[in-house]
């Protein structure tokens, strides 16, 4: 009975697809793209690890368990990931609590500072850590300290600063949704503030906290920019894989390390998406809960405020020292101010600036439209493989950039798809790496729009394409445009995947920054960093202007991790 109804459903879906050839062809094309540019590179990674040279040979795979220098980086990555996920979530919670549940002043500024690390290029924070806390950093020298920032301490510090914003945005949303009347009820029944916090607020926030911790863990595990600068002798998996591929050309080893990076992130992604995310507690009450319950007691408010001021101070200090460093002649020895580093960036890297902007400008609209299109199909259309389409297109959220990069060089270096050395391969990496966020946002946006508007268009005789471009797109336009800025920002600041696919013809600013760091040219690296920041800020301001002019609506390109 069930089987036959299932079969009938299937027949209906097939019939529907055949009757709508435009939809059918779009679905087919998108599946082809997803399989070629998401699944195929991953298959190649597995193939190179287990079938090196074409024959099945688990040598590299088994060596992973035998050789210290294979498995040690995995353990190191796990240690860093756990600590960063813990500290990052704590820092994020302080900010989120202060902003949503107290009446401290200057919330807007705190919020801005908390999301700042998201728009900044990689290594910037690691660079700042060295300039401030290195063996001869500003603070180290001023306080005559004798510590060593390289290795675990530096990794935990820099990644916590770099990735707590992701946790912050999740927790801010979660805490804002907890209905204050529940806390009021606890207080009315005589519970102390602390008890209310521990037994009511915190438990309600647990799923959010778990999500935040898991996502920060993934981000730490896949981080390449900070470790490559500050790992010292504490080698992590991403850098080990980078060495295997770029230094030793040991593709089977690189692929094997990639697999061991992929397994934990995939597991966490699935746990997060299908288990934790479904457990969110939404406190529904009869009355609208507009104004939140704000802690006004000094003994709660001021410690939180003090911590937030301290943490914000640390973040501002980090950006400040890098900005200052970018204007020094020889950092630490001759601090005369000069613009020579910026002249150097434009002399040596002028072409990279153009390359990077061109590539970002191509990848951005394609990635944006493709994301909205997939979101639209997933939300509005019924067709076979809809769930698979959503899963595959979201997969790259969990695949570390280093794995994507290695997969792309393995997959697209030989005919029929020989893309190495082209701008196209970089553009494809950007599009498929950044799509998940665009799709997720698109889905959220579309679910809020009544489908009857589109149905009206269809019943008036408009086809799929006409309805999509004339009705759906305009409705989601504000979200779409701020989504474009997100993709653009990411293109300007990405490093972990693209470092494998840049070439003599197409070079990116972040990779040029990496090479300056490689050569310990910290002042030049800092200048590259601020050139990137300047481009990113220009893009954000420009889009903000456009969106506000066109739609008279709010605009928040940053808040979308």
């Amino acid at each position: 009975m069930r089987l036959s109804s299932y079969r009938r459903e299937l027949q209906n879906e097939i019939k529907r697809l055949i009757h709508d050839p435009v939809l059918l062809s779009i679905v087919v094309v998108i599946f082809a793209l997803l399989i070629i540019f998401i699944i195929f590179p991953l298959v190649k990674v597995v193939q190179f690890s287990l079938w090196p040279g074409g024959k099945f040979d688990p040598k590299y795979f088994l060596n992973f368990f035998r050789k210290t220098y294979y498995w040690r980086p995995l353990i190191n990555s796990m240690i860093v990931g756990s600590l960063v996920s813990l500290f990052g979530t704590i820092v994020a919670f302080i900010f989120a609590y202060g902003i949503t549940r107290t009446d401290i002043p200057g919330k807007g500024i705190f919020r801005l500072i908390a999301v700042m690390p998201i728009v900044s290029p990689p290594f910037l924070i690691a660079l700042a850590a060295i300039l401030l806390l290195g063996n001869h950093g500003v603070i180290t020298d001023a306080l005559r300290l004798n510590w060593d920032i390289y290795g675990l301490p530096g990794l935990v510090l820099t990644e916590t600063m770099a990735y707590f914003p992701i946790a912050f945005m999740i927790l801010e949303g979660v805490l804002a949704k907890i209905d204050p009347s529940i806390e009021e009820a606890a207080l009315d029944m005589g519970a102390s503030k602390l008890r209310t916090f521990l037994t009511v607020t915190l438990p309600l926030a647990i799923p959010g906290i778990a999500s935040a911790m898991l996502l920060v863990f993934i981000r730490s595990l896949e981080d390449f920019g900070n470790p490559v600068v500050i790992q010292g002798n504490f080698q992590v998996l991403t850098v080990a894989a980078y060495h295997a591929v770029t230094g030793m050309y040991n593709m089977p080893l690189g692929a094997t390390l990639a697999i061991f990076m992929l397994l934990p992130t995939l597991m966490i992604f699935i746990v997060q998406k299908y288990y934790v995310a479904r457990r969110s507690y939404i406190t529904v009450t009869g009355k609208p809960s507009g104004v939140g319950l704000k802690s006004t007691e000094p003994h709660v408010k001021y410690p939180v405020l003090a911590l937030m001021i301290f943490l914000s101070g640390v973040i501002l200090l980090m950006y400040g020292v890098v900005l200052f460093g970018s204007f020094t002649k020889i950092w630490g020895i001759d601090n005369t101010l000069t613009i020579q580093n910026y002249l150097y960036v434009f002399k040596v890297g002028g072409q990279y600036v153009l390359d990077t902007i061109q590539i970002a400008l191509i990848a951005t609209p394609i990635g944006g439209v493709l994301s909205i299109l997939i979101a639209y199909l997933v939300v509005r259309k019924r067709f076979i493989g809809r769930g698979a389409m959503e899963f595959i297109s979201m997969l790259n959220f969990a695949v570390p950039g280093v794995v994507v990069g290695i997969g792309y060089i393995l997959a697209f270096n030989t005919p029929p798809l020989r893309l190495s050395g082209t701008a196209l391969i970089i553009i494809l990496v950007f599009i498929f790496r950044r799509m998940p966020v665009g799709i997720r946002d698109g889905i959220a946006q579309l679910q809020q729009i009544d489908p009857s508007i589109e149905e009206a268009s269809s019943s008036l005789g408009a086809g799929f394409f006409r309805t999509f471009t004339r009705v759906t797109l305009p409705l989601v336009a504000p979200a779409f445009l701020s989504g474009l800025v997100y993709i653009f920002v990411r293109c300007m600041t990405a490093i972990s995947a693209v470092v494998f696919v840049v070439s003599a013809s197409w070079q990116l600013l972040t990779v040029a920054l990496l090479y300056e760091v490689d050569q310990a040219n910290l002042a030049a690296a800092a200048a590259y960093g601020y050139v990137i920041i300047a481009i990113v800020l220009t893009a954000i301001v420009f889009m903000r202007f456009v969106v506000e002019r066109l739609f008279q609506k709010g605009f928040s390109p940053i808040a979308r991790e």
Partner: protein
């Protein structure tokens, strides 16, 4: 939505304008192992004397260049490999990744120890490994600058040494070859004494870099106490910059490189690459090494004052050919010994 379309089309025009900037000229693609600030000087000089050729280049460490060329073997993206320790060129020649070029006059006049007999690569300059120490650091720990490979193992230098990874950097691989030659038997490759030395040395290392010359700046800024790099880089990036550093050499003899250049097999612009190749060996190009303290191999080019030459240091009899051909083996063993 007319406004939106207008904005979008404005964006499209801007983007097309950016996209079509630059074009027209013939383009030569180069991988270079010279540091970016130096490569920029050499390549700009070339473009000035050849206004019809535009050079697009990427800087990578020696072995990263080789990894890149291997990865692109089926579809080479660059035509010329400019600079880098010749052990990496030897390894590339062995893999059949280079294009022989013997017709160049420079090649014919080059003494045979500075070129491949089959024309696969040619020398540009020679360089000798030296130690760079921060003088404030030496004062603090009350030690003399190291003057032998064994000195590097002194307890006061523990966790204070920085150099590059030998698998990515030509500098660091040249250093490793020197250690293996100087310690124990001078036969190429590891022997038990070498194992013990490398293990002990690794314990002294604060961290490894990707790039060979990075440690000089780190020593200069006091991030670490001692670095190991090429003497021309120590002169340029350490002493000439005014960092508080001294340069010393191991008395057992030091390691050396021949900085090389090669045509990449199947590269997209073989003719342009040859023009660059011949230019790079000319007096005009080799005179540029003066400002970077490199020792040019063109006998007509001027050698900078204060350069470290073969007369100034004892040089180890290193079998560069063997080390070039056995790099993977050496690195595998290095991994085993250091666990890194």
């Amino acid at each position: 939505m007319k406004k939106g379309l207008l904005i979008l089309s404005v964006m499209l025009v801007v983007f097309l304008a950016v996209f079509t900037l630059g074009a027209a000229k013939q383009v030569l693609h180069i991988y270079t192992a010279f540091d970016a600030d130096q490569a920029e000087v050499y390549i700009n000089a070339f473009m000035q004397s050849h206004p019809d050729i535009d050079v697009k280049w990427v800087r990578l460490s020696s072995w990263q260049v080789l990894a890149r060329i291997r990865a692109e073997a089926a579809n080479p993206q660059a035509s010329l490999w400019f600079g880098g320790s010749n052990t990496s060129h030897i390894a590339a020649a062995q893999d059949g990744l280079l294009e022989p070029y013997k017709e160049s006059l420079a090649w014919q006049f080059m003494p045979k120890q500075f070129k491949d007999p089959d024309g696969m690569w040619i020398g540009l300059y020679v360089g000798y490994i030296g130690f760079v120490s921060n003088t404030n650091f030496l004062k603090k720990v009350g030690a003399e600058a190291p003057t032998s490979w064994q000195d590097l193992l002194k307890p006061e230098f523990k966790g204070e040494i920085s150099l590059a990874y030998p698998f990515s950097s030509g500098t660091a691989y040249t250093t490793l070859c020197g250690m293996l030659t100087a310690i124990g038997s001078s036969k190429p490759g590891f022997d038990p004494e070498d194992d013990a030395y490398i293990k002990a040395f690794d314990a002294q290392v604060h961290h490894y870099n990707e790039s060979g010359s990075a440690c000089i700046t780190q020593v200069g800024q006091g991030e670490v106490g001692i670095g190991i790099a090429f003497s021309h880089d120590i002169l340029k990036k350490g002493i000439a910059k005014g960092f508080p550093v001294v340069m010393t050499f191991p008395k057992e003899g030091t390691s050396y490189e021949i900085g090389g250049m090669a045509l990449i097999k199947g590269g997209p612009e073989p003719e342009l690459a040859k023009i660059f190749y011949n230019w790079a060996l000319s007096k005009e190009a080799q005179d540029l090494y003066k400002q970077f303290y490199r020792i040019p191999l063109n006998p007509e080019a001027t050698v900078a004052k204060g350069c470290v030459t073969a007369a100034d240091v004892k040089v180890l009899p290193i079998d560069l050919l063997w080390y070039g051909e056995h790099k993977d083996e050496i690195i595998d063993h290095w991994h085993e010994v250091t666990g890194k």
